[in-house]
């Protein structure tokens, strides 16, 4: 590793060549206030001018997020000139910003407020005209409010990097510039997949999930029987909202909090993840045996489903017909559970806590109701759950560990837990497929080949004489490669797992925001390691559990015995399976 010698505030340091001043300073113990820059230059347009510093010999102040270090460079951060310039940059941004911070859900995690605080931007020194505002609340998932946009371009870049799509772009010119889908359309009228990756990088409240806390409040107030379920990935990240180290699994505390928030029943979506494996595994084996459409592709991720419907309408028969786990669980709660407990399904209100913004939209799909009753009534993101917990004054870190409700849907296996990370659904499916084909459990239980974070991974397994070729992709940019192969008739796989968000649900668009500036106790490289840490929280829970294969879940067996019959039965199809239809991206 080539290094260069630099000085910061007169002190000598040796740092890696090629770093920006911002990155080098971080390694030397300085957090230069910055706003538009994101991790490893994912977005470094140098546009916000908040990270200005003095460099000896340079003409004027330089933007440290784009300026590389070089040999002998002398950097000063704290001079009055640099401090004043950074403050002025923030004040100029604030002058064109909707300053209703107290009504903004981003309050407390807003990077603009953070840099305003550290640079000392206090009074509104600059007053003037503001850019015309667009407020797009038409999708059930994401709210776009340009009055809070600082034009950093992180969302534009993220959509391209993660999905190769670029739904959002800069449009118009000068003071009228906004970030928007083409024609400043609603995201609803564009081929946006509603994954929320843009939300997870937005420094302000310009892109936020559409909150459904009020719906949950209303249901409780109306005396509904409110049942909550939590996705596997939520437990791996919720603790971050309460200052716990990234990667802390908080399953027990999360359950304790939900019980204190007044939910009548607290279940784990993992139960339905196990159910998904039974249905999807059976579907896969059926397709292999009967010459059905292959490769079969997983259907748990609603972001991915949206992408498929917009861009690969011709490949929809490849998708598993299984609903996503939380929809399955909702359908079971409103049928089996309702019957068992003698409750009218109309009086049940199902809330899903999800790491996802696309799930909010998914639950509104026409295909996601049975006899006019929606499977799921409200979807809250992990962040919204944290807000509810804070609102109730619950000191999360002091909660005891409690257990999910155990009746009917209380059991879950390690296979369900790992659904939350890329490759997890595949591994869970393989554990069961292996058992079905060989009549015994796989010795190692784990299928290491499908783990990791490479964009596309593949494995070929010989199971009792049957060769099963599988592949995994996360982020639509990677998925596209596999899909184009299928379209061209070149795909050699039997089964493909696709997740909308890079990393899978642990890094979903509804998960807690990860930013170095808000995580002073984490290592410098937390932006690079947080996905792995969250994934490990799930893999550790899997290791700890005695039941690690979906088919060994006793309550799943009971559900089939008492209610569904067998996997892919008529009843199962009615409740647990769905349909897809091709859609036009830019509808008129």
């Amino acid at each position: 590793m080539a290094t260069v010698n630099i000085k910061i505030e007169g002190v000598s340091y040796q740092v890696e060549e090629g770093l920006t001043i911002l990155e080098a300073a971080k390694k030397c113990g300085y957090e230069i206030p910055s706003l538009c820059a994101f991790n490893h230059g994912e977005c470094s347009n140098g546009s916000c001018r908040v990270c200005l510093v003095e460099v000896a010999g340079a003409r004027g102040l330089v933007a440290s997020c784009v300026y590389p270090v070089n040999e002998g460079m002398e950097i000063r951060i704290s001079t009055p000139q640099a401090s004043e310039a950074r403050r002025a940059s923030v004040e100029l941004l604030l002058s064109n910003h909707n300053q209703n911070c107290q009504q903004c859900d981003k309050n407390g995690q807003c990077e603009l407020l953070h840099v305003a605080s550290v640079t000392g931007a206090r009074e509104g020194r600059y007053q003037g005209v503001k850019t015309p505002v667009t407020l797009d609340e038409l999708t059930p998932s994401i709210v776009r409010d340009t009055s809070k946009c600082i034009l950093c371009g992180r969302c534009v870049q993220r959509c391209q990097n993660a999905h190769g799509m670029g739904i959002l772009g800069f449009e118009n010119r000068g003071f009228k510039t906004i970030v928007a889908p083409a024609e400043n359309r609603s995201m609803k009228d564009s081929p946006c997949i509603l994954c929320g990756q843009c939300v997870s990088v937005c420094p302000t409240g310009a892109l936020m999930e559409k909150s459904e806390i009020a719906k949950v409040d209303a249901a409780m107030k109306a005396g509904k029987h409110v049942v909550v379920q939590t996705a596997p990935a939520v437990r791996a990240a919720l603790g971050e909202e309460f200052g716990m180290p990234v990667g802390t699994a908080v399953t027990g505390k999360m359950v304790a909090a939900l019980k204190r928030l007044g939910f009548d029943k607290v279940y784990d979506t993992n139960f339905a993840a196990d159910l998904t494996i039974m249905e999807e595994g059976t579907e896969l084996l059926g397709r292999i045996k009967n010459g059905g459409v292959l490769p079969m592709i997983t259907s748990c991720s609603p972001g991915w489903i949206n992408y498929a419907e917009y861009n690969y309408g011709d490949l929809l028969p490849h998708l598993s017909s299984c609903k996503s786990p939380h929809q399955m669980q909702g359908a079971i709660i409103k049928s089996y559970y309702a019957k068992k407990n003698g409750i009218d399904p109309k009086d049940i209100f199902v809330v899903s806590i999800m790491p996802c913004t696309a799930k909010k939209d998914e639950k509104e799909r026409e295909q996601m109701q049975v006899d006019g009753i929606k499977d799921v009534d409200a979807v809250l993101t992990t962040r919204e759950l944290a807000r509810m917990i804070k609102r109730a004054g619950i000191l999360f870190t002091r909660l005891p560990d409690e257990e999910f409700d155990q009746d009917l849907m209380g059991d879950y296996t390690g296979a369900g837990v790992i659904f939350g990370v890329t490759g997890g659904v595949m591994e869970a499916a393989l554990r069961t497929v292996y058992f079905v084909l060989t009549g015994k459990e796989h010795d190692a239980i784990k299928f290491e080949a499908v783990r990791g974070f490479d964009g596309i991974r593949e494995a070929s397994l010989d199971i009792n004489g049957t060769t099963v070729n599988v592949a995994i992709a996360h982020g639509m940019k990677n998925a596209k490669v596999l899909l184009d192969d299928i379209r061209a008739g070149k795909s050699k796989y039997h089964f493909i797992e696709i997740m909308g968000c890079p990393g899978g649900c642990i890094a979903g668009g509804g998960q807690p925001i990860v930013r170095s500036c808000f995580l002073p106790n984490e290592a410098d490289d937390i932006m690079d390691t947080y996905k792995e840490k969250r994934a490990n929280a799930l893999y550790s829970e899997d290791e700890r559990l005695t039941l690690r294969q979906s088919h060994n879940n006793p309550q799943i067996k009971q559900l089939y015995d008492e209610f569904l019959g067998e996997p892919n039965s008529h009843k199962a199809h009615e409740l647990l399976h769905t349909t897809y239809s091709a859609r036009v991206g830019f509808n008129d």
């Binding site: 534009v156 391209q160 190769g164 799509m165 670029g166 739904i167 959002l168 772009g169 800069f170 449009e171 118009n172 010119r173 928007a180 889908p181 083409a182 024609e183 830019f586």
Partner: protein
């Protein structure tokens, strides 16, 4: 793509193919389409996006950034009034206002009969002959307000439009 004829789609694809080997072909493609059709609506941008892999939002951004590109059809005769500094101090605003007054449209608009569009341009680099106006590429130097009615009449006599 319901709004574009098959021939139109073929033509746009052909324009895209002209620059298949360019590293950054977008400006050239859009220029050719603008010249060929006089405007670049979203349907056309979608075709360009499919051909080039550049997102529709990015293409739309470029189209709305440069005043040379238009989202709406332009008139048969496009009156480009230079509003650069030199032309402006030499009375370009008065000249443009006169065109607006006679044609009954604001800058950026097109007459109902599809004959004329008035565009306010950034400096066109003809400061020596300020104030300058271009009509479909023909340059009118050192224009005074009095000359405007005559020029309009001249083009009206040529006919055309819807």
């Amino acid at each position: 793509m319901a709004h574009i004829s098959d021939a139109g789609v073929t033509k746009i694809c052909e324009i895209c193919d002209r620059y298949a080997n360019e590293k950054t072909p977008l400006m050239m493609i859009l220029s050719d389409i603008q010249n060929e059709y006089g405007y670049i609506p979203l349907d056309v941008q979608q075709i360009v996006s499919e051909k080039t892999g550049i997102s529709v939002a990015e293409i739309y951004g470029v189209v709305t950034f440069y005043s040379f590109f238009s989202l709406e059809p332009k008139g048969k005769y496009v009156i480009g009034c230079c509003m650069g500094t030199a032309c402006y101090v030499k009375g370009a605003q008065l000249v443009m206002d006169k065109f607006s007054e006679i044609l009954g449209i604001a800058p950026g608009e097109t007459t109902a009969d599809g004959m004329f569009t008035i565009d306010a341009l950034r400096c066109i680099g003809a400061c020596g002959i300020a104030p300058a106006v271009t009509i479909n590429g023909k340059v009118y130097p050192k224009l005074s307000v009095d000359q405007v009615p005559g020029i309009v009449a001249e083009y009206k006599a040529l006919g055309g439009g819807n």
